[in-house]
């Protein structure tokens, strides 16, 4: 990131290749429509480009870029709730536009996403960042403005809720408000 702020344009591509897959996975699991997830991913890197002189070389890059993505995602959902024609329910989950790596893996992915829908949004966010993005609890705390202990509590409650949502009685568990 420091190289990019210094004018090295190849560094931007390297940052994209390193972080875009994880970021896109994070966004796609919650937004469902792939083109909207792609658009938010691009906005994340566009904001990174605009904020390149704000990056402090002493800070960690991963929590920084994930915070940008999360803030953009939250703004997206705020606008979506105010648009009457938008729908955030399960029906919007797009079929993969390219070949999935295996039907069973895609099933597992989709079942997990349905399970995550039944977890509270703040707990789900922690699971996404901890499990799929590989951030440590202290890094997640940086992204969310929380202490590491508060993040651990949310993670515990989230994993407990997710286990219940994926269990045999999953059908009876309602979606959170």
């Amino acid at each position: 990131m420091v190289a990019y702020a210094g004018g090295d344009s190849a560094a931007f591509r390297e940052l994209f290749q390193r972080y875009a897959p994880v970021l896109l996975g994070l966004l796609a699991r919650q937004l469902r429509a792939r083109d909207e997830a792609n658009d938010l991913l691009q906005q994340t890197f566009l904001q990174l480009h605009r904020a390149r002189f704000d990056f402090d070389p002493g800070q960690r890059f991963k929590p920084w870029i994930f915070t940008i993505a999360l803030n953009l995602k939250r703004e997206y959902f705020r606008r979506a709730r105010r648009r009457p024609e938008s729908s955030l329910d399960d029906e919007r989950m797009a079929e993969p536009s390219v070949e999935a790596r295996g039907a069973m893996r895609w099933e597992a992915h989709r079942d997990l996403v349905r399970g995550l829908d039944k977890v509270r949004p703040d707990q789900r966010e922690v699971i996404e960042l901890h499990w799929f993005a590989g951030l440590s609890f202290s890094e997640i705390g940086e992204c969310l403005g929380l202490t590491a202990n508060a993040v651990k509590v949310r993670a515990h409650r989230g994993y407990t809720a997710l286990r219940a949502a994926l269990g045999p009685d999953a059908a009876s568990i309602p979606l959170p408000e």
Partner: protein
């Protein structure tokens, strides 16, 4: 003959027992399909409820999460990057240059414009009773508006890379503060004001004078804001900043202490800008 373990073996065993396991190691093991084990792992699971959930049962949840992590559609990174690069290449012109400055530079620029306008009022368009107006009252009112401007600018220009919450309550407070200050008892001065205009003329004059002056601040903040399209919180913060700045300038300029004049001619400016910005946002999104 009894066997005595070598010192090296004893210290190696001791360091293995003392090794602490991190949550990330448990996660990485599960992702590789390896069920973690050992004394260090068990000690960690006893103290970390989140990891305990992942490995509970027969690492059921960990296995489900690992399977899902390997699933999902393929990505066409090259195509994504090329369309991103096209958008980055379009970032040209004054607005692109301004919003790519660092946050401290953007904030200084915004506040400098307010300062310049305030200095202009002080030097060229000061109220006639400025010399006899009570200093503590002037300091209080100006101080409140300066706080409104600084906090609004800080919230509006705060970079997306920091954890943030929508400061809607803050914006509404500073939008309404000029109304509250207008209702305070009039300051006691020896100045005898003579107003030759009607109420409507006087209020309209202040409204357009203050509202027009802060147009430069609104435009500057819009240019410095990095977001594409005004979010609801940004809209309120811009209006609050415009209202605070307009009332700051009018407090230096206008001697009329009458509460109804202050509400209609001064305090309403922030709300008027809110309507203008909301209409502009609705039109640009249509």
């Amino acid at each position: 003959m009894s066997y005595t373990p070598s010192t090296k073996t004893r210290s190696a065993r001791r360091s293995h027992r003392d090794r602490t396991v991190e949550c990330s190691e448990i996660r990485d093991s599960l992702l590789r399909g390896v069920a973690p084990g050992g004394a260090s792992f068990e000690a960690h699971v006893r103290s970390c409820p989140a990891c305990a959930e992942l490995v509970a049962g027969d690492t059921d949840l960990g296995q489900e999460l690992s399977a899902a992590a390997r699933g999902g559609p393929e990505l066409d990174l090259d195509q994504l990057f090329s369309s991103l690069n096209a958008r980055v290449q379009e970032e040209r012109g004054l607005r692109a240059w301004l919003c790519s400055r660092s946050t401290p530079a953007r904030a200084i620029l915004a506040v400098s414009i307010v300062l310049a306008l305030a200095l202009y009022q002080l030097v060229s368009a000061r109220r006639p009773d400025f010399a006899v107006y009570p200093v503590p009252r002037m300091a209080l009112v100006l101080g409140v508006y300066v706080c409104g401007i600084l906090l609004s600018v800080a919230a509006l220009l705060r970079p997306l890379g920091t954890a943030r919450r929508e400061p809607i309550a803050l914006a509404i407070v500073f939008l309404c503060l000029p109304v509250v200050l207008a209702l305070l008892p009039e300051a006691a001065t020896s100045f005898e004001p003579h107003f030759h205009r009607s109420f409507t003329q006087a209020a309209a004059r202040c409204f357009f004078y203050g509202g027009g002056f802060v147009a430069s601040i609104v435009i500057a903040l819009w240019l410095l804001d990095r977001s594409d399209g005004l979010a609801r919180a940004s809209l309120l913060l811009l209006a609050a900043c415009a209202g605070s700045a307009a009332n700051l300038l009018l407090q230096i300029h206008c001697p009329n202490p009458e509460p109804f004049h202050l509400i209609v001619g001064h305090a309403s400016i922030g709300f008027a800008w809110l309507l203008v910005l909301a209409a502009w946002r609705a039109r640009s999104r249509a």
